[in-house]
Symmetry: C2
Subunit: 215 residues, 2 copies
DNA sequence: CTGGGCACTTGATATGGATCAACAATCCGC
DNA sequence: GCGGATTGTTGATCCATATCAAGTGCCCAG
């Protein structure tokens, strides 16, 4: 169904960790599971019961409508954690965007992880609520600008930003079509705000201007 | 700035509680704070440090862009809880929609509430992520239908649904203008799917059809 | 190196919802 | 109950983005 080409990109792994990454309790180090590009990590409806931490690569979290429309609610880069659910069922799909390593932390029965989980859940909640503002009230340029600013910050705030995902993924994250995403990239390039180093790698030339556009 | 008229509506308080409402630890019963229609409960940037439970009335949680565009990320009805933040600062505004009673639970220093808070935070996270799908990928009719279905469920699944908020609030929640919200209501009425009992009270005539439209 | 298949870009056109503009209904103070 | 203010509805028009349709360039298999 989805056929994705293998990753050419390795993201810098100094991405800003939303909260202390490793050190989940004093559990023994979990093995890293490998997922090739486009492969499913879990599916909507499956039984949940583990947290996942991205070791390398990138993950998309999404939902589908009956007719195939897709909304990506989050991307997760190296160092970030995903997989919590309100009940014991996954309400979303998780897929590796490209070759990705993931550490799974199963909940040991009885162990109360709520102390570690709460800050991660709250961080996710804030992120999702901020994304609501983007989807509900911002136009195409503002959405793309906000996305690029966010990606830049999560990659350490460098000028060069790697985009591990396709234009379609970006569109499905921002509630836009691939054509609109592409056109906005071109416009930003023409304005000298960004440079397209390659399809999946951009340089932010005018950081302030970009930040401004994202409101 | 915002002037809201006083509430004419008292919501049925048997609304489906997302999780056990009262019983926050064994704390002494907190007093109910009263907020008149349109009044602020907390503001973005303020110091956080309490959870709030709606006793009666309704609350809107929102963010603003610099130019005044507003996105309401959630409504909270009687029995529901709001106010958690990832850090000690409020990232959103909370306002009483109409005359509203709220119980505030301050975090006692040292007390670890994470066990109670986590399920509420996760519930909120799932809600927000589902709302992302609505804002990112659904059209006006689907958005309104999804909103009405949600409101109906939260009010016990009865035919008659009370809408404590204005069309503007609904628009700012669904990422639409008041005109579009109004037109969709009219269309649903003309199709015989709903009946408008009064401005703030509707009857769902064809529940299945409505559910279907919300996808 | 060559050819086929994707992912992406670019252009032309269509359209859903925004905007602008009256108008109608409801609420509320007096 | 009256009159002004506020909230909601309806209609006409506009525009941002979707959709449809070529094209281009990149990547991988052979």
């Amino acid at each position: 169904m989805h056929a994705y080409t293998a990753s050419r990109i390795s993201l810098p792994s100094h991405s800003a960790q939303p909260s202390p990454p490793a050190a989940f309790g004093s559990e023994p180090q979990q093995p890293v599971n490998f997922f090739p590009a486009g492969s499913e990590i879990y599916a909507q409806g499956e039984k949940a019961g583990a947290l996942y931490q991205v070791e390398f690569g990138a993950v998309r979290i999404y939902r589908l409508l009956a007719d195939g429309r897709r909304q990506i609610s989050a991307f997760h880069l190296a160092g970030e954690t995903f997989g919590f659910e309100a009940d014991s069922t996954h309400h979303f799909f998780a897929e590796a965007i490209n070759a990705t390593g993931v550490r799974a932390f199963r909940f040991s029965a009885g162990a109360d992880m709520s102390h570690q989980l709460l800050p991660l859940a709250l961080k996710g909640l804030t992120r999702a609520q901020e994304h609501l503002l983007v989807l509900g009230r911002q136009n195409a340029i503002e959405r793309v600008a906000a996305f690029l600013v966010d990606m830049a910050e999560r990659q350490g705030g460098l000028r060069q930003v790697e985009l591990p995902m396709s234009r379609m993924d970006i569109g499905d994250y921002l509630g836009l079509t691939i054509e609109t995403v592409s056109r906005v990239f071109t416009r930003l390039k023409d304005k000298g705000v960004i440079r397209l180093l390659s399809l999946r790698s951009i340089e932010i030339v005018k950081h302030d201007a970009l930040h401004c556009m994202s409101e």
